[in-house]
Assembly symmetry: C2
Homo-oligomer: 209 residues x 2
């Protein structure tokens, strides 16, 4: 089972590494990191680089493509394989709208539903394509597409996926192996848990436009 | 504030990336990744590499050194700066016992206490040096040394540390920025939550010796 984790300049490291740490423990998982070229890809911090082990051209039929669905395009501005394009043509822009359009094209079979980091303006974008936003859900599954909330939710998403593929017992073993027994010292990980003022302040100071 | 995240061949990616994703959002954080040489360092999976941006020789007075405290030595077998050696001589083995010896040397001022991934045989090793093991704690703080439980706990640890340094409000903002609102689909992230048989099976199949 080929798992191609998408990297592009400006990616968020935990978006890639959370799912990786879970999914590479699945039986028969063949994980690679895929980028424009083989070599280091610089994350949004400008500090951390993860090495792409394959280029997009080398990935023709991946089974799973975890990746960040960000409304901000790849800083490189070249098109690349989106996280949701496994079954489609090989090169797409991975911007947020193209993701929604793909969701929309499957709408007849699977009602288009999605989630994402709460800063994505998905309520508007989704209304345009007739899809339903579920911004309060951590994981949303619609046909072949699974979307998760922001950043750290990739760990939850990957455990869910491991259970879908290999059953609950295996997923529970992976959770134990990585000691994923979260005990955040605070409870401010979602906009619903903070004041509007606090959210505003956080967005202004910490979340890239 | 210099934050030097230790990488060595065979490191566990989430051990480095969890703290990184939190700590690089602290004000005035100057984060680097430090390894034997500048360049890619291969993780325990044999797949993921993160680039060391500085060599150990370049790091003389880091303020914070997040790193994996693993009983398995660096696969490179060269000595390197341990996560707890900020104030000590510059090069140490980072094996588990040296960590405990350092804890022990501070015992008079700060009772040596530690935690770690539950597979560390710390009950025995710690008894040898007269320190107290607290394997059920997620975060343990003893003087300059903070130890956390395994792998994913690095996120909890880093949020705690951000609050110690910059106050609760800032730490809560970081938690919101990375949407750290964990909702694991299962509850098997700690040995106390599974059967002895399940733990045995997980160790045999998934946790490197």
């Amino acid at each position: 089972m080929q798992i191609a984790i998408v990297l592009y300049p400006g990616f968020t490291a935990l978006d890639a590494v959370g799912p990786y740490e879970v999914l590479h423990l699945m039986p028969d998982a063949e994980v690679c990191f895929v980028g424009h070229e083989v070599g280091p890809v610089l994350a949004d911090s400008g500090i951390l680089s993860i090495t792409a082990t394959k280029s997009f051209d080398e990935i023709t039929a991946p089974d799973i493509v975890p990746g960040e669905l960000n409304r901000h395009r790849d800083r490189d501005e070249r098109p690349h394989t989106p996280a949701v394009a496994q079954a489609g043509s090989r090169h797409h822009h991975m911007d947020y709208l193209s993701v929604h359009r793909r969701l929309d094209s499957r709408r007849r079979r699977h009602p288009a539903r999605t989630t994402g980091h709460y800063t994505l303006d998905d309520a508007v974008a989704l209304a345009d394509v007739g899809a339903q936003s579920r911004p309060d859900d951590r994981i949303v599954h619609a046909g072949k597409v699974v979307t998760a909330a922001g950043v750290s939710s990739g760990i939850d998403f990957a455990l869910w996926l491991a259970a879908e593929i290999h059953g609950h017992e295996r997923a529970r073993m992976i959770q134990l192996a990585i000691e994923y027994d979260p005990r955040p010292p605070f409870d401010s990980g979602h906009p619903s848990k903070v004041s509007a003022e606090f959210l505003e302040q956080t967005l202004a100071q910490m979340v890239p436009k």
